[in-house]
């Protein structure tokens, strides 16, 4: 239990330490990160679809 609490505190401190991105968020950077998010969502969607197909049809 102590270990879990410690880990949670460590993760919280990491999140606080890196809460603010240091990269200058220019339009190009924002666009690239937005594109990356969309791309990853697409990949997750097709993986979930494949998983459902396998689960339903074996």
């Amino acid at each position: 239990m102590g270990f879990l609490k410690n880990t949670r505190n460590v993760i919280r401190s990491i999140n606080q330490k890196y809460a603010r991105p240091h990269m200058k968020m220019t339009r190009r950077v924002r666009f690239s990160l937005g594109l990356l998010r969309g791309y990853l969502l697409f990949l997750v969607a097709i993986m979930v679809y494949k998983f459902i197909v396998i689960a339903l049809h074996g």
């Binding site: 890196y18 809460a19 991105p21 690239s32 990356l36 990853l40 990949l43 097709i46 993986m47 494949k50």
Partner: protein, 423 residues
Amino acid sequence: MNIFAKLYYRYKKFLKVIRLYLLIAGPGIIVMVADNDAGGITTYTVTGAKYSFHLIWFLILLGPVAYYVQEMTVRLGAVTKRGHAEAIFHSFGAFWGWFSLLDLVLVDWLTMITEFVGMTAALSIFGVPVIVTVIISWIIMATMVLQGRYWTWEKLALVFCGLNLIYIPAALMINPPVSKILHGSFIPQLPPGGFTNDLFFLLMANIGTTIAPWMVFFQQSAVVDKGMQEKDMLWGKIDTALGSLLTVVVAAGCVILTATLLPGQDISDAATAASRFMGINKYLGAFLAIGLFDAGFLGAICISLASSWAFGEVFGWAHSLNNKLREAPWFYAYYFFDLALAGTVVLIPRAPLVLITLFVQVIAVTLLPAALVFLILLLNDEETMGVYKNTGFQNFANVGIVAMIILVSTLYGVSALFPNMLH
């Protein structure tokens, strides 16, 4: 100064340059040679058996591709003194940082399982039981890092890199048709049958095995752990270039072996090729088996270190190979545990190893584009890189190559999920 004095001066200067290079050499050669891991060797042997010498030119083209990607990590590591995981957290925030870190851990662990599969398959040719291979490999991997000096670990890794070149004497032993090799190496061509779906899949597999996400994290962290500075970047680039040359030579060696001795034969992996070679010439079979074991071994130690370094950077543990075990307990604990867990999966009877190989291909697709996009963005950030930020030409080359890799690796991952898509 007479001519002998001039020659002697040049010779001493040349020796000094070589000694300086040998001081810096390491991360680039290790990451590139380790890139020819168990999965890579399998891909190349299958390529040679299926398409003979026709695709060697394609492998040669992948050398510069690998160089341009890995060269970015040298610059980023030397300037920022941060590993890639920490750099992502620092510049892009916690969300992207956790995504990259956790994805890296998963992809790396799955890939390490495939390395152990390669190692155990290789030594089983000599009758070594799987459990013995796993235990002995783990002991050697643990011993390599326990002496508490990055320098020693690096030199030991370079010895294993040297062993990986065993495919070259093996290829020379079989008197391959030189004219066909030269033709296949320097004249871009398609194999008989033209551009088929199977060819497309194999080309994508070759690209996918050339650039793996762990390579980006490994080399950047290794550059930092080695203590490379901005002034060492040129040597780091030369190291990386030499590594990419070696990776192409080994890949070509594998292709030449199976193209010469097993043309047209249906081979599913490198261990099968090694078994068939045993029937032709036991030394040849032994060379290929040793090479496959070495490939898996190198891959496993580098991939595990990539994850260990990444975790240490983010969690703030001591995370250098220059730390002794008691100075960096969590760093080493992660390294040992990661390797042990991957090795244990191979010991499970009827473990779904084919499914795991498929997972690796698919999940790597989620991490590789992100890692490469972050690399490019960081290298263009003036606050991060200062005078070392990307030039126009570097952006042109890097962005073009990264875009191509993302497109191909996506197609590869999607086609792995939906195999009928290409038919």
